[in-house]
């Protein structure tokens, strides 16, 4: 038994209550930001921002769309970060929920290597090299509560529950929206515990929305490692493509 998120971006209005709820529950400080010509702020995930709604203006078939993507850790069933770290005191999988948990011991890991290992580009490091990311609000979940982001979502975009139930809910929603959005798809749904439903091509929402695209366009020195990871993810990707 494991737990999963289902994030239905077709219902997300980017109110960002989830982004604030995450900061509030984890008591994370606000970053000093400026407006950079976008509603998206902070600019990216960070050691102090585990959840970030990404905003993208995209013209699709001649029609303007403003795509919202509440980005967070996918809690992969077989998490590359965990495998690369190979140190259960730093990164481990909570047996009851399947949550991938980073501890203070991540300080002892090669932070960049862990970050690069993630096909979704999620972990972020502090100055001392400690890593942080979404922890599925494990403390809440262990006490029978849903994660803070799910609790606060007013539109019904965020869901949390038993993985099989979430997957079937996701499939049900996919079937419902297919008529309106023929390109709607579930992202890597057999491999992750954070299942996204997108109405359009996932790449339009975020460069790292799905594992299959993350390995393109990465800067040259990283190539070897990226290739290795790509190899590791090949079965995922092949399966994902079949699914789509």
């Amino acid at each position: 038994m494991s737990k999963s998120f289902f994030i239905d971006t077709t219902l997300c209005t980017a109110c960002r209550a989830c982004q604030v709820a995450c900061k509030q529950w984890h008591d994370l400080p606000a970053e000093k930001t400026t407006n950079r010509g976008s509603f998206q702020n902070p600019a990216d995930l960070s050691f102090e921002t585990y959840k970030l709604v990404r905003f993208n203006e995209q013209v699709i078939d001649g029609k303007l769309n403003w795509l919202f993507f509440p980005d967070q850790c996918r809690h992969c069933y077989e998490a590359p970060c965990l495998e690369v770290a190979d140190d259960p005191t730093a990164i481990f999988k909570d047996p009851a929920t399947g949550a991938v948990i980073f501890t203070a011991n991540t300080k002892n890991l090669d932070a960049d290597e862990i970050i690069d290992s993630c096909p979704y580009n999620i972990p972020r490091k502090a100055k001392d090299g400690t890593l942080a990311k979404c922890d599925m609000c494990l403390d809440r979940v262990q006490n029978g509560q849903v994660p803070a982001c799910v609790k606060t979502c007013p539109t019904g975009a965020m869901h949390f529950g038993e993985s099989d139930e979430m997957l079937s809910l996701a499939k049900q929603r996919l079937a419902q929206v297919k008529g309106k959005f023929p390109k709607a798809t579930l992202l890597d749904s057999d491999f992750v515990q954070t299942i996204y439903l997108t109405a359009h091509d996932p790449e339009l929402y975020s460069k790292y929305a799905i594992a299959s695209v993350t390995n393109k366009g990465i800067i040259a020195p990283m190539l070897t490692r990226q290739e290795a990871l790509q190899k590791m993810f090949k079965p995922f990707i092949a399966a994902a493509k079949e699914l789509v």
Partner: protein, 806 residues
């Protein structure tokens, strides 16, 4: 239209998305593609300030394609009323315009009356002078071609919107509108709403489930504060404010009580004397007696023809005619249009009492940008108020639900609830006036007994609002003991035997308890989500107002599945013989207008009981600017000519002011870009509660100006750079957001640009004294002191600016 619910009323939007999942279509018309637009089935843009053109076009479409609900329109609206033959609309003006006073004489806007002084009605809607015929004539010019030229909306989009929305006119279908300040804050604000209300009436969408004209309020308790008379022109429960010419209670009641000779019109406001006397009994208790007109002479009166609106108060203050100000729970230095004028006006005050959670730009106006503190004489007192969760009381939401809330934590530090502050203030005033003072009676005689254990008791106030029997009386054959709570407003009397501080709320707190504290999740039998035992709704817990319009003349619901009320009385030989309604609390429990055999009943009442003649007003003769909405350009418009009425550019009775701080830009000036102010999800009002909140500031740290890629290119502006937005009144530094979500409009062949600025910011926070690079201020520095002639709400949604690089 006129709202951005996903961003500014996110909880309401939850139900919109739910409706969409059930097959509803959502149309969004907004100058800018917003977070709401992302979820719309149909999105179209329009130039700010041209909504009546779009809606007028829809009226034409509905009429010409016969998509209205004829039965509904004929039976329930004044479409069949015959209008005074002298009524005219020529060259963009209605008959009776006085150019000198810039006011209408409305005497020709009335109806033709029969010998009993009842309006002549042609239910076939065919007569030349009927409202329906005049309506057709009035909107004849609003074809999609001209509407498109004015609004910049494509004809294709207009037709798609019209077709989709007009489909809700079919029997059993419903459509609703969610509007907000995007409609109200115009010099044609009231007419924007009226135009939609007229569409809703034509389509039979008033009083039905899923219908209505829904105001999304700018603050969670706007409905409640208006009900309790926050505005200057009304007393609680929408009773009219006494005027100087209403010299005694009889004169007031005569003037304010409408009279109808039509036996089928309930004309509910005929009860006005019961409500006004009960209000006086509530204000002055035992001191209010029949012999002294129940203390009517102690009520403040307004001068006839004068207005005391927010705009005018600050105009008077600017002219030096106001000595003191209570700024209570508001931040006028940032929230009011033309903020520089507002801020300068405050320098003329001798004193100001600022009641708020935190100090703000208003309380600190004397040290604001460009102000020399030593030159300001105003003495400012700060009274710290506690936050809503720290006090007990009720709020009334947009659906008129009065909901009781309990106290969470105790007020922090020396902050107090508004109730406590008012009680203390009242006590001090009573002490001061006990000895002497000019005209001390109103204060001395004011009933002021709302304390329990020396603390303000919200329950005592809530009970006062509901009202008491002030003596033992027998009403409807039942003995009502002195001091017991009045069960509902049907029991209120004009003889001083009852009190009620707000007749509309009579029934909210009765001997059965506090109705607004109820929390039952049981739905009513019609299963349309009324939840009659959750909280309490005025009037008399009626959840959908004018619900007898949801049935046909025989009491049978238009919508068989999602019905609101239905008549279930017994019938014999084709006649109803007993009265019974099911579902919501009906708008009066009278018989339906017709028997099952089609014969008219003499003991029925028309559905729109608050209207003098019992009919909803497609022709609205009470408005300051005309009985039919007409498209007028904003006071600051980028176009030189009103294409519909070439001789009348703007609302002829729009409100403007004339001090040296009241400047208005013409289309020929350098200010050619339309600007609108708005809100974002991440901030609240002037930002007083959200700007100090770091997690929210992290997401929306700075005031910004959104503009199209095309305008940015023309001005050489890059995304994210600081720019200056300037109006004829002031300049504001903003961060440019260059976006595809604004598109230039093609208005009558010419390109018109529009930009938008959120108004949540102010100079106090982020604190420029700590960081000189920070220059945030309110978007209201830019906005004009122009207002709607009915409400004097400011035109902050359509004015002119220029944008330039720093």
């Amino acid at each position: 239209m006129g709202s951005n619910a996903a961003e500014n009323h996110p909880i309401s939007f939850k139900y919109v998305t739910e409706a969409q999942q059930n097959g509803a279509k959502m149309i969004n018309v907004d100058p800018r593609f917003t977070r709401t637009s992302t979820r719309a089935d149909i999105y179209a843009s329009l130039r700010s300030g041209t909504d009546i053109a779009v809606l007028g076009g829809m009226i034409k479409y509905i009429l010409e394609n016969k998509l209205y609900n004829k039965e509904y329109v004929s039976a329930y609206t004044n479409a069949g009323f015959l209008v005074n033959k002298k009524f005219k609309f020529d060259d963009g003006k209605f008959s009776g315009f006085d150019a000198e006073k810039r006011k209408y004489d409305k005497s020709t806007w009335g109806f033709q009356l029969d010998k009993n002084k009842v309006p002549k009605i042609d239910r076939t809607l065919k007569k030349r002078n009927s409202v329906f015929s005049l309506l057709k004539k009035h909107y004849k010019k609003y074809d999609t071609k001209i509407v498109s030229k004015i609004t910049g909306t494509s004809e294709k989009d207009l037709i798609e919107i019209y077709k989709t929305y007009a489909a809700t006119g079919a029997r059993g279908k419903a459509g609703t509108i969610m509007y907000a300040m995007g409609w109200t804050q115009h010099t044609v604000g009231v007419q924007n709403i009226r135009c939609m209300a007229m569409i809703q009436l034509l389509l039979g969408n008033m009083g039905v489930a899923g219908g209505g004209v829904n105001a999304l309020r700018g603050e969670s308790n706007v409905q409640g504060s208006t009900d309790q008379c926050l505005l200057w022109h009304i007393l609680p429960g929408y009773l009219k404010i006494p005027k100087a010419s209403n010299t005694d209670l009889t004169a007031y009641n005569n003037k304010c009580t409408p009279k109808s000779n039509d036996p089928l019109s309930a004309n509910w406001w005929a009860n006005t004397p019961k409500y006004s006397v009960s209000l006086l009994k509530s204000y002055f208790g035992e001191k209010a007696q029949k012999s002294n007109d129940f203390g009517y002479s102690w009520l403040p009166k307004v001068d006839d023809g004068k207005d005391y609106s927010w705009f005018t108060i600050f105009d008077n203050m600017y002219r030096g005619d106001v000595e003191g100000l209570f700024a209570w729970g508001m931040n006028p230095a940032c929230s009011g249009a033309n903020s520089l004028k507002t801020r300068k006006a405050m320098e003329n005050l001798d004193w100001m009492v600022n009641v708020n959670l935190f100090d703000n730009e208003t309380g600190s106006f004397w040290k604001g940008p460009g102000v020399t503190p030593s030159k300001v004489k105003t003495e400012v007192f700060m009274l710290p108020a506690c936050v809503s969760v720290e006090k007990e009381g009720s709020i009334t939401n947009s659906g008129r639900w009065m909901q009781w809330r309990y106290q969470g934590p105790k007020p922090l530090g020396n902050s107090l609830s508004d109730g406590d502050i008012i009680i203390k203030l009242g006590n001090e005033l009573k002490k001061a006036y006990a000895k002497d003072g000019a005209f001390p009676e109103p204060i001395r005689n004011l009933k002021w007994d709302y304390l329990t254990h020396d603390e303000y008791d919200p329950h005592k106030v809530a009970k006062e609002i509901n009202g008491y029997f002030t003596k033992d009386v027998t009403v409807k054959g039942k003995l009502c003991k002195k001091g017991t709570l009045v069960p509902s407003f049907a029991w209120l009397q004009a003889d001083g035997s009852t009190s009620s501080a707000n007749w509309l709320y009579c029934n909210s707190y009765t001997e059965k308890g506090n109705m607004s504290a109820r929390r039952s999740k049981k739905d009513a039998e019609n299963k349309i989500g009324l939840y009659p035992e959750f909280a309490w709704c005025w009037p008399v817990n009626r959840r959908i107002i004018y619900n007898r319009a949801s049935v046909d003349a025989q009491g049978i619901p238009w919508d068989k599945k999602d019905w609101v009320v239905k008549f279930a009385g017994k019938q014999e030989n084709g006649k109803y013989v007993s009265k019974k309604w099911l579902g919501d609390v009906p708008d009066g429990g009278w018989y339906p207008l017709e028997n099952p055999d089609g014969t008219q009943r003499k003991d029925a009442k028309y559905a729109f009981i608050m209207r003098k003649h019992g009919h909803a007003q497609i022709f609205g003769p009470g408005r300051a600017d005309g009985p039919f909405p007409a498209h007028y350009e904003p006071i600051e418009t980028p176009v030189a000519k009103n294409l519909l009425y070439p001789k009348q550019l703007q609302n002829p009775v729009a409100v403007t002011y004339s001090t040296d701080s009241d400047k208005y830009a013409k289309s020929t000036s350098k200010y050619k870009i339309v600007c609108s102010t708005y809100r974002v999800s991440e901030h609240w009002q002037t930002g007083l509660m959200t700007r100090p909140q770091e997690w929210l500031m992290e997401m929306q740290p700075q005031v910004f100006v959104e503009m199209s890629e095309e305008l940015a290119k023309q001005k050489g502006i890059k995304n994210g750079e600081r720019v200056v937005v300037e109006s004829i009144r002031a300049e504001l530094e903003c961060t440019a957001i260059v976006t595809k979500r604004f598109k230039p409009f093609k208005i009558d062949g010419k390109i018109v640009h529009q930009v938008g600025v959120p108004w949540h910011f102010g100079w106090r926070w982020p604190d420029s004294s700590k960081d000189a690079s920070v220059k945030e201020d309110s978007a209201n520095l830019l906005t004009p002191s122009a207002g709607d002639p009915n409400t004097r709400i400011p035109e902050t949604k359509a004015f002119l600016v220029n944008v330039r690089k720093m």
